[in-house]
């Protein structure tokens, strides 16, 4: 691709999507940052715990599944 073609593409992009780099931040984000810092570092969603509990219960009640499960892992 030569320079004029490159310039044409650049112009097409600039005409359609104006630069946003000069846009200013509208609010102070420090309060949001403080809330984020207060959150626990690692959060496991409740449905993951549910899934884990269900899988454990299944293996406890049907231990015969363990070899089959290991085979497929």
């Amino acid at each position: 691709m030569n320079q004029p073609e490159l310039d044409d593409l650049k112009k097409l992009l600039k005409d359609s999507l104006h630069p946003v780099g000069g846009d200013k931040l509208q609010r102070d984000l420090w309060p949001t940052m403080l809330r984020r810092l207060d959150q626990p570092a690692f959060h496991v969603p409740w449905w993951d715990w549910t899934l884990l509990a269900a899988a454990t219960a299944l293996l406890l009640f049907f231990p015969g599944m363990i070899p089959a499960l290991l085979y497929h892992l």
């Binding site: 691709m1 073609e5 490159l6 044409d8 593409l9 650049k10 097409l12 992009l13 600039k14 005409d15 359609s16 999507l17 104006h18 630069p19 946003v20 780099g21 000069g22 846009d23 200013k24 931040l25 509208q26 609010r27 102070d28 984000l29 420090w30 949001t32 940052m33 984020r36 810092l37 570092a41």
Partner: protein, 173 residues
């Protein structure tokens, strides 16, 4: 002990000072990549969260945390683009500057956004930064942690994919 040393040692007040000093700059950089103000705000907080977690790895003798922060911000923005690639197309909430009939202009912008959406996140980021925001290859290279030559290669590859997509859509650049 200076501000950067105190930050590296885990001082929250020093972190707040750095946050207030750099939040605008980080926001504007992320905005250049994701082009959506709400997302850019979320990713600014995410960037500083990553910075705070990695404070022990920061070397305060460097004298500034600007380039490190920009690199973290770029990674956070690219992670966001990767996550949202199949879910959310590039936002189209910005006014165009061209004076064309609205329908034609909207159609052209839709085609261009569609073509940009087909680029992988690293290529899309490089094309937006280099062509729309007119960032220097040096700045882009520093932010991505790659060489200027690697940026040139990405621009070349991005342009090739972009031209092909636009040509298929009947737009000739």
């Amino acid at each position: 002990m200076d501000l950067l040393e105190r930050f590296a040692a885990g001082d929250l007040e020093a972190f707040e000072s750095l946050f207030r000093q750099y939040q605008g700059e980080v926001y504007r950089w992320i905005m250049r990549i994701v082009r959506n103000s709400a997302t850019a705000e979320d990713l600014t907080v995410e960037t500083f969260w990553r910075m705070y977690r990695a404070r022990a790895q920061f070397d305060p003798t460097k004298g500034t945390c600007g380039p490190w922060l920009r690199r973290i911000a770029t990674n956070a923005a690219l992670d966001h683009l990767r996550r949202s690639r199949r879910e959310i197309p590039l936002p189209d909430d910005l006014p165009a500057t061209v004076k064309q009939p609205p329908a034609e202009q909207l159609e052209l912008r839709r085609e261009i956004l569609g073509a940009l959406d087909k680029l992988s996140p690293p290529l899309r980021a490089v094309i937006l930064l280099a062509f729309v925001e007119e960032e220097s290859y040096k700045n882009i290279a520093q932010a991505l942690g790659i060489s200027e030559n690697a940026v040139r290669v990405r621009v070349f590859r991005g342009v090739r994919v972009l031209r092909k997509s636009l040509s298929q859509a009947g737009v000739h650049a």
